[in-house]
């Protein structure tokens, strides 16, 4: 592992990285403001966004950063599951999700240690995480409070962002890795075209959700 700051600024994708990292910062700042005003539901988003920012910065300015994703992946899954649990009212699903947190952490550690040896990107871990979160957030999307206007509800934007991001990541990691053997240049272009916007969509949705949250007093404990 080593620092390579100049390589980051010379990277043609640098503007893209800076763009979505500024969205993470914006989401983080808005979440902190919402939490300080009493919106308890963002409690799990703050560490998630802070950690996402740290991991992305580490990935940009260091080499051999894959270990960061091995660490980040189970934490991300846990925090997103806890956010889901905060808003899920079905007892059966809540119990199931709580169990799955433990199961996933164990599975992720086993896969990272024995399959990837903490060296390459944990594609399998991310795929399993993606499938589980996809199911959870689809349920959350369908159980938004019927009295609210859906476009103004924070869970609508968070769910849409997560569905788009993990749905896209699932396609990227499963299909593009096989293409890489056939034509690396072409695949990288295709991968970039699909995966680059995913992060922007996810964090834009998180920012919108925090704006919706701040604009609606009913989510705050006053």
């Amino acid at each position: 592992m080593g620092f390579n700051l100049s390589a980051f600024f010379n990277d043609p994708n640098c503007p893209y990285y800076l763009t979505y990292q500024s969205f993470i910062v914006a989401g983080l700042v808005l979440s902190v403001i919402a939490y300080k005003r009493g919106a308890m539901r963002v409690f799990f988003l703050i560490p998630l966004l802070a950690l996402a920012l740290l991991v992305e910065i580490a990935a940009d300015v260091t080499t051999g950063y894959a270990w960061a994703y091995h660490l980040y992946n189970p934490i991300e899954y846990t925090l997103l599951s806890l956010y889901y649990l905060e808003n899920c009212k079905v007892l059966r699903y809540r119990t199931l999700v709580k169990w799955f947190i433990g199961v996933f952490i164990v599975a992720a550690i086993v896969l990272s240690r024995f399959v990837y040896k903490f060296s390459s990107l944990p594609a399998l871990n991310i795929n399993i995480e993606g499938i589980l979160l996809f199911v959870m957030y689809t349920h959350l999307l369908f159980s938004i409070d019927a009295e609210a206007i859906i476009y103004r509800h924070p869970d609508f934007w968070i769910s849409t962002g997560i569905l788009t991001y993990f749905g896209g990541v699932f396609v990227c990691f499963n299909l593009y890795s096989t293409l890489l053997h056939l034509n690396p240049d072409h695949t990288e272009q295709l991968f970039g075209a699909v995966s680059f916007p995913l992060n922007i969509i996810l964090y834009t949705c998180i920012v919108i959700s925090q704006i919706c949250l701040l604009r609606n007093k009913k989510y705050f404990i006053l």
Binding site: I144, A146, L163, G168
Partner: protein, 259 residues
């Protein structure tokens, strides 16, 4: 002709497109599902409002009927009883006996009327006896005025499945139609037909009054009664048809699906 490599790339592109479409479909379905749920809740709230309003109106109508009956009927009977008792001359035993008998009779009549009023006070309980009985009871008050001849026909058998909220609304509609007839139609004969059909109840109220031209009614005139009747019928999923011509009476027909 595509090379096998290009074919794979196209397939991957198509699969990616499929995933994007899948996410779009999920989000759109969620939005539509949410909107349907929201509309349903709003309809329910609206229905509850109408139901509450209907209950209040029935109560108000009951109080009006009681007020009018106390003044015009029981009040008169009691005044007459008092006059009869006052006019008794004790030195004429036979006459006094006759007057006492008449006073007792008037008193019994007053008690009977009071009992009827007591029943009316429990308007909601009246509906527990059934819609048919509640309407019959309402008709008896209309007939008491002596101005109208009312024919009440009930056809068919009521199914076991009932709906108290719909009964309440249909009863209120009947009251409102009868009120309109009394206030505006100058009718002499009224026919009320309650027909139990397999999917619902059909109510027909026909009068031989002055009638009116529906197209000529102003919005304000409609707003007085017809709009209320229409709104109530619609809220329980029913239909209303009104046929009327000046000088030819009016026929109001309502169908409400049950349960």
């Amino acid at each position: 002709m595509l090379t096998p490599q290009q074919e794979i790339f196209h397939t991957v592109g198509l699969i990616s497109l499929f995933f994007i479409l899948l996410i779009i479909i999920i989000v759109i379905t969620a939005i539509r599902y949410h909107n349907r749920k929201r509309n349903h809740i709003m309809d329910l709230a609206n229905f509850q409002n109408v139901l509450l309003q209907t209950q209040m109106e029935i109560r108000e109508q009951t109080m009006q009927t009681i007020g009018a009956d106390l003044h015009d009927n029981i009040g008169q009977l009691l005044s007459l009883t008092s006059l009869t008792l006052n006019s008794i001359e004790l030195d004429n035993a036979e006459k006094a006996h006759q007057k006492i008998e008449a006073a007792i009779e008037l008193n019994l009549k007053s008690i009977k009327e009071m009992r009827l009023l007591g029943k009316l006070l429990h308007g909601e309980q009246l509906l527990k006896l059934g819609l048919e009985e509640a309407i019959r009871h309402e008709i008896s008050w209309v007939e008491k005025s002596g101005k109208y001849k009312v024919d009440y026909l009930v056809e068919g058998e009521r199914s076991a499945e009932q709906n108290a909220d719909k009964d309440l609304i249909l009863f209120r509609i009947t009251q409102e139609i009868l009120n309109n007839i009394i206030k505006h139609s100058q009718a002499k004969e009224i026919i009320i037909k309650l027909e139990y059909q397999q999917p619902g109840i059909r109510l027909q109220v026909i009068d031989d009054g002055t009638g009116f031209n529906i197209a000529d009614l102003t919005e304000e005139q409609k707003g007085m009664g017809l709009k209320n009747i229409q709104k109530r019928a619609e809220i329980v999923g029913g239909n209303i048809f009104i046929q009327s011509q000046p000088g030819e009476g009016t026929c109001v027909e309502i169908f409400i699906p049950y349960p």
